[in-house]
């Protein structure tokens, strides 16, 4: 039997809207760093909270042990979101379980993290012992390798490896790499190659990049970056 339907479209929509009130169906499961606002912190206040950091990251954030990253002169937004990651992390998750950072960050308030980040960003990097350069690493960093699909690192981290030249909030949490310890960089790149961590949108950028790098390339880039002297602060 043919049924004549002359229902109002608005009526149907209203019924559905009423039935659908609630939370979003599928929330994002990562922190989107593409839409952040730059942080502001009190470096002086951060100094007090950062005292404990020196055990691993050295005086004023200049790490002695090369497995630990130097924090001095690092970009504040990067440091803040890295601390936020550790604070939010499940300490039993394999990636974080081996790190003392989740426990260290657990007690920090949001203001603490901003202040600590501001503090280390304001510190001067001390020159590391002279290290030999690495031509392959320099080429990969500055030019990439088109044939292997390796993008040039400088596109995001700057031609001088001191952070991106591009302006925009979405670049605020891209770290400076200049003069960073090579073993630490190797560890980070290896983790990225294994799709870890999966905390922020920036991690997903590095997953794709690191997957194009073999062990030699990772070592070469890390060595070249570690050989760069600190940039003088202006």
């Amino acid at each position: 039997m043919r049924t004549r339907l002359s229902h109002s479209p608005l009526c149907w929509a209203a019924v559905l809207l009423l039935s659908g009130a609630g939370t979003s169906a599928f929330a994002a499961d990562y922190v989107d760093l593409r839409r952040i606002e730059p942080i502001h912190g009190d470096a002086a206040a951060g100094a007090a909270k950062a005292a404990v950091c020196a055990a691993c990251h050295g005086p004023n954030g200049n790490a002695i042990v090369p497995m630990f990253p130097s924090l001095a002169g690092q970009r504040a937004d990067y440091l803040y979101h890295r601390l936020a990651e550790f604070k939010a992390a499940d300490p039993k998750a394999p990636y974080y379980a081996a790190s003392p950072m989740p426990a260290q960050a657990a007690g920090l308030s949001d203001a603490d993290m901003r202040n600590v980040a501001a503090y280390f960003a304001a510190q001067a990097r001390t020159a590391a012992p002279a290290a030999p350069g690495n031509a392959k690493g320099e080429t990969l960093y500055l030019e990439g390798d088109l044939a292997r699909g390796i993008p040039a690192c400088q596109g995001c981290h700057g031609a001088d490896a001191n952070g991106p030249a591009a302006q925009g909030n979405q670049y605020a949490a891209y770290p400076t790499l200049r003069g960073q310890h090579a073993p630490y960089l190797v560890t980070r790149l290896n983790n990225f190659r294994g799709n870890l961590p999966q905390y922020s949108s920036n991690d997903f950028i590095m997953h794709g990049v690191a997957r194009t790098l073999d062990d030699d390339s990772i070592q070469a880039v890390a060595s070249w970056l570690a050989s760069l002297p600190p940039k003088e602060k202006h």
Partner: protein, 898 residues
């Protein structure tokens, strides 16, 4: 993203389709998979690997991008599920928070939400099954049901789309299907291996409803033999009897079902060489309204003859044909060279060569000759499209050259031919023409003809058409970019069409030339207008005896340069020269030269401004207003001009619009404004003014228009857009009525035959409005979509005339001097709105409820009065015309991700 503000297709299952549709097929290949929650516990599929794999897929898909068989959908959902996909909340890239913009500043579409993939061994699969029910409350309106079968409430398979792939080697299988009814359905299967091969097969049925309010006075609709019912006497019924038969006939639907099957394959022979072939066969079956001439005797309805005979019949043509299309070739893509060698063929076959029909009305000879008696004809015929073949071979070579340039050379040769069996000139029995006192054949009746000597193919000069057109083309292009600031372009193209045969209408049985006009009825009503020239008995008859070959050669050369004189400004100039050399036309040479200037400005970050200006001037050699003399009997040996001279074929001041000298000025101004990163406003104005050098013929054709479009992607999964457009065109033409009913010999405008008081002017003014609005937004768990489209089109034809002799028919209130008037407005208005909501019940299951409302209002004066009956005097109409309508389609669909 679509940026033009033309009428948008409205469709119930395509929320946002109107504003955000153009990239949809590509978005199907969105690279990032999602796994279901339980799978996330096990493994995260590398997104980058997926991206790389799917990029390879895109390459393979692109191999078959030839022809029209690359996408399948239906009117319910032209995008086959693509437009209703939600945006991926992750955006397009991790590097930027918003959608990127095109070079002109428009926002690209968001990528679709990644599919939920399963694993079976090495294979991944994902897909969607969409089933449900639609209710239409169909009122049987053709416009509503055109290209869709929404004639009844029904359960439907809205979409089945299943995709399987094996990342390890790039193998994939894709199956897609939709079924609304037996007449509205498609099924497609694709399998292949990225970088290796691809095979695709499909079947598709689509209805094309042409009329749902037709009434036929004939039996045998759908066959090639239309006969009158017993209530009517062929050749002997009165208009009242025919009108009664029409009114008693049930309404019927006329339409054509298109069924198409296709198979295509492509394979990489080497990384550089690709071979491809595409085959398709489309059958069309059904009926459509068509003509049925039996002489336009209504010209004599009024005084002084007061005749009511002849017949203009809107018959019903049977459609039963097939078109096979073949395309195949080899492609090479290397670092320096590219080659493409291809063949394209098309083969049309019609089951019927012709169809017959009976005409109900009697014939009466014009009483201008004492004793004139019309032959009692009642049988007519109409040929169908002839079977024909098309072949074309093309080769293209492209090479990179210094200065960052590229040169490309193409050559092709083709042949269009048809050699179908010709039908007899007439299908009558007995005699046709006019008898003087009786209908006995013999010298006493020179205007009477024996059907038996014309209703056979022996009456033709040959039995088959044997017609052919050979085509050839050569094209050379070059592009150079000697510096980043300069780009130089050049193109020279030569094109030619040669007609290889001609037909002379000669009847070897009678020694006469020509073709009985109007199924023999014109010569049975009007003495001397049989359409037949006889050098012995009627040497002054003027009629067509030859076909008209229209060979043409075209040379097109253009040169252009783009100069980027600053980072934000580009100027372009293109000079174009066209020379047309047609045969047997009013001019043997036409030259069209144009200059096009373009300025693109991006000085402001938030604005892209484009301005184009074109000036074109078309001239030619001497205009011969009557180049067709050789096709008429007046060119034959033995032709004797009548005492008053051979009638002029047309007026000497006539300038046909494609042959006429012409000046054209065209300007476009387009602005794309980016007030925010997530918002775009586009606006354009355009004008095109054509002035023709014609006192008789087309004199002017001007168009102006404006569009504005706004789009705001206010959240990752939400967007809103609106558009409005307006355009207006004006076509002006003039003609002149001959004063001697086609017998005057003087072609001069202002002369005795084409007197100036017989001149008239008509203006066809068209005005269109378009508007639309689209919203896609998540409200809580519900995804809401709204899509509204509006179209208003108005056509107005008005006319003026110098004097009443300009009019073919007088209604009686014309004064002695100039006058004018207008036909009623032709108005076409369509309002459509879709409101839909999708409610997710789980990660895989959602429910979609939508309502699609469409209202069409059509005013077409051609069909005025048909509510009183379809028979007007001796005119029989079958299609009662387009109907205004209000229709509502409501649907409930369950959407399951497989």
């Amino acid at each position: 993203m679509s940026t033009s503000a033309h009428p948008r297709p409205s469709s119930p299952l395509t929320p946002g389709f109107s504003a955000l549709s153009s990239c949809v097929p590509e978005q199907k290949r969105d690279s990032r998979f999602r796994l279901s929650e339980e799978q996330k516990q096990n493994r995260w599929i590398p997104a980058f690997a997926g991206m790389a794999t799917m990029m390879l897929f895109s390459t393979a898909w692109a191999d078959s991008g030839i022809g029209v068989d690359t996408w399948r959908g239906n009117k319910l959902d032209p995008t086959a599920g693509q437009a209703s996909e939600a945006c991926d909340a992750r955006g397009t890239t991790w590097l930027a928070p918003l959608q990127r913009r095109s070079p002109t500043g428009n926002l690209y579409d968001c990528p679709n939400e990644a599919p939920l993939a399963h694993e079976i061994g090495e294979w991944l699969y994902y897909g969607v099954l969409q089933v449900g029910y639609i209710g239409t409350g169909d009122q049987g309106v053709a416009a509503w049901n055109r290209y869709a079968d929404w004639r009844s409430d029904k359960a439907i398979l809205s979409l089945l789309d299943a995709h399987f792939e094996r990342p390890s080697d790039g193998s994939y299988v894709d199956v897609r299907a939709s079924r609304i009814s037996d007449e509205d359905q498609y099924y497609q299967a694709v399998f292949g291996k990225a970088g290796a091969y691809k095979v695709q097969a499909f079947v598709r049925d689509m209805p094309n409803i042409l009329s749902t309010d037709a009434r036929s006075i004939w039996n045998g609709v759908g066959t090639n033999n239309l006969t009158l019912p017993s209530s009517l006497t062929p050749g002997g019924s009165t208009p009242a009897q025919v009108a009664a038969a029409s009114a008693a006939a049930p309404t019927m639907t006329l339409g054509v079902k298109r069924s198409k099957q296709g198979l295509s394959a492509s394979t990489y022979l080497t990384p550089e060489w690709t071979a491809y072939v595409n085959l398709s066969d489309e059958q069309r079956k059904g009926t459509r309204p068509y003509g049925g001439p039996f002489f336009f005797a209504f010209a004599f309805e009024g005084p002084p003859f007061n005749l009511n005979d002849g017949g203009v019949n809107e018959t019903i043509k049977p459609i039963n044909d097939s078109t096979i299309n073949i395309n195949g070739g080899l492609r090479y893509a290397g670092p320096e060279w590219r080659f493409d060698f291809s063949y394209t063929g098309s083969f049309y076959r019609d089951k019927y060569t012709s169809y017959n029909y009976q005409s109900p009305f009697k014939l009466t000879a014009l009483p201008v000759i004492p004793g004139a008696i019309a032959a009692p004809l009642y049988q007519g015929q109409m040929s169908t499209e002839p079977d024909n073949n098309y072949h074309n071979f093309q080769a293209t070579a492209t090479r990179k050259i210094p200065w960052n340039g590229e040169i490309s050379i193409s050559a092709s040769g083709g042949r269009m031919s048809q050699d179908d069996a010709l039908i007899a000139p007439i299908n009558c029995q007995g005699v046709f023409g006019i008898g003087l006192g009786n209908l006995q054949l013999g010298p006493q009746n020179p205007m009477l003809y024996d059907c038996n000597k014309w209703n056979t193919t022996d009456a033709l000069s040959r039995k088959t058409a044997d017609m052919r057109i050979d085509t050839s083309m050569f094209d050379a292009r070059i592009v150079l970019q000697p510096t980043p600031q300069w780009t130089l372009r050049g193109d020279v193209k030569y094109d030619r069409q040669d007609y290889r045969n001609i037909y002379l209408a000669y009847n070897p049985l009678t020694g006469q030339y020509g073709y009985p006009s109007e199924n023999g009825t014109q010569g049975s009503i009007v003495p001397g207008e049989s359409g037949i020239w006889d050098p012995r008995t009627d040497p002054s008859a003027l009629t067509r005896v030859r076909s008209l070959p229209l060979d043409i050669q075209t040379i097109d050369a253009n040169f252009g340069a783009d100069w980027k004189f600053s980072d934000k400004n580009t100027l372009s100039a293109t000079l174009d020269y066209n020379r047309y050399e047609p045969s047997n036309r009013e001019r043997s040479q036409i030259d069209a030269s144009s200059v096009k200037l373009t300025w693109v400005n991006r000085s402001l970050d938030w604005l892209t401004l484009r301005v184009n200006y074109t000036y074109l001037k078309q001239t030619g050699n001497t205009y011969n207003f009557d180049p067709y003399e050789f096709t008429w009997s007046s060119s034959m040996p033995g032709y004797v001009p009548p005492a008053t001279g051979t009638p002029a074929h047309t007026v000497d001041a006539m300038r046909k619009y494609d042959m006429s000298s012409r000046d054209e000025n065209k300007i476009d101004v387009m602005a794309t404004v980016m007030p925010r990163d997530d918002m775009t406003v586009s606006a354009s104005v355009r004008g095109d003014w054509n002035s023709y050098d014609a006192r008789i013929g087309r004199q002017a054709y001007d168009t102006v228009g404006a569009t504005v479009q706004w789009e705001w992607q206010f959240a990752t999964r939400s967007s809103i857009s609106a558009y409005a457009a307006w355009d207006r065109s004006r076509l002006g033409l003039s003609n002149v009525q001959d004063q001697a009913n086609g017998t005057g010999a003087d072609p001069t405008l202002g002369g005795s035959n084409y007197a100036l008081n017989g001149q008239w002017w008509a203006t066809d003014a068209q005005r269109d409005w378009y508007g639309g609005f689209t919203l896609n937004h998540d409200i809580g768990r519900v995804r809401l979509d709204v899509n509204w489209n509006y179209l208003y089109s108005r056509g107005l034809t008005d006319y003026t005339y110098a004097g009443p002799t300009a009019l073919a028919h007088l209604v009686g209130n014309e004064g002695p001097g100039p006058g004018g008037g207008a036909f009623p407005n032709m108005i076409y208005r369509v309002n459509s709105i879709t409101i839909g909501a999708t409610v997710p019940f789980s990660e895989r299951v959602s429910l979609r409820l939508f309502d699609y409302y469409e209202r069409g209002r059509i005013n077409d004066w051609h069909y005025l009065g048909f509510d009183q009956g379809l028979v007007v005097g001796n005119r029989v109409y079958t299609d009662a015309g387009p109907q205004s309508y209000k229709q509502n389609l409501i649907g409930l669909l369950v959407n399951m991700k497989l």
